[in-house]
């Protein structure tokens, strides 16, 4: 139905992935880090959908569904952790949360 080369789809996924990674590496606010993680997961999911579309198989979309499920569970746990951390350390700065090192 469309004539999008698969490579372009993957390329979009790759770029989104890199942006997400940059977000994780650059942002110190833990909320942004979590958002960036969502971007990375989502870009990988996108790559699966692209690949599934190439082979006309449902598998890509199914893995996408799995990824969405995992992302939801992960955000739930992640935000609960952030909430506890904010409650006890009064900051969202990920760099401040470095009691352990060395």
């Amino acid at each position: 139905m469309t004539s999008v080369p698969m490579d372009h789809g993957l390329l979009l996924a790759g770029l989104l992935f890199a942006v997400g990674l940059a977000g994780v590496l650059v942002r110190r606010n833990i909320l942004y880090v979590l958002m960036s993680l969502e971007i990375m997961m989502n870009s990988a999911a996108l790559a699966f959908v692209v690949a599934g579309a190439r082979w006309s198989q449902p598998d890509g979309q199914i893995v996408f569904i799995f990824i969405v499920t995992v992302a939801a569970a992960e955000v739930a746990v992640g935000l609960a952790l952030v909430y506890q951390m904010f409650k006890r350390m009064k900051t969202l700065d990920a760099d401040a949360a470095s009691l352990m090192r060395g």
Partner: protein, 173 residues
């Protein structure tokens, strides 16, 4: 539809860039939503309608709401916290990591494009096919995915719960 793919891609990329550069978390979350919706459009153009629908419902619908909820709960609104964000984003902090990401993006580019053949990725796979496959071949995966949600639930419940009377604040575990 081809044009729609490229437009949506451009929107998604732009919105995502905005997410990681915003100082106001509410703005970032809104951009994230835009990005996810744009990706949903991409899915649609690739013929993955079911995935497109799920992307809107679960990602844009549920997960984003969770983030917004958390921002409200932690009460990190505009002025003071955005100023704080600026402090956290000095060039010294972002130049190195960004360079690393750019390098990696370049490598991805090379890997994906090198020796490329133009294979089309745009065949329609309808929800029925997905559903059948999901409950025939991948039914174990579905079962396990439910366990994942359960684990997330139990974990989030335990971590998010208020302290019990005998749990001392800041006490060591």
């Amino acid at each position: 539809m081809t044009i729609a793919f490229y437009v949506a891609s451009a929107v998604a990329l732009f919105a995502t860039l905005m997410v990681v550069t915003r100082r106001n978390p509410v703005h970032a979350v809104l951009y994230l939503m835009v990005s996810l919706l744009a990706v949903a459009v991409v899915f649609f153009t690739l013929g993955a309608h079911f995935a497109a629908a799920l992307e809107v419902i679960i990602y844009a619908g549920a997960i984003i709401v969770l983030f917004v909820f958390m921002i409200m709960l932690l009460n990190i609104g505009p002025p003071p916290s955005t100023r704080q964000e600026s402090l956290l984003l000095t060039p010294g902090i972002w130049v190195g990591p960004s360079a690393l990401s750019v390098l990696l993006a370049g490598l991805f580019l090379y890997v994906i494009l090198a020796g490329g053949r133009s294979v089309q990725a745009g065949s329609y796979v309808d929800a029925k096919t997905v559903g059948i496959s999901m409950f025939e071949i991948y039914f174990l995966g579905v079962e396990l995915a439910s366990m994942i949600l359960l684990a997330g639930l139990v974990g989030a419940y335990h971590l998010g719960k208020r302290d019990l009377p005998d749990e001392a604040e800041g006490g060591n575990g």
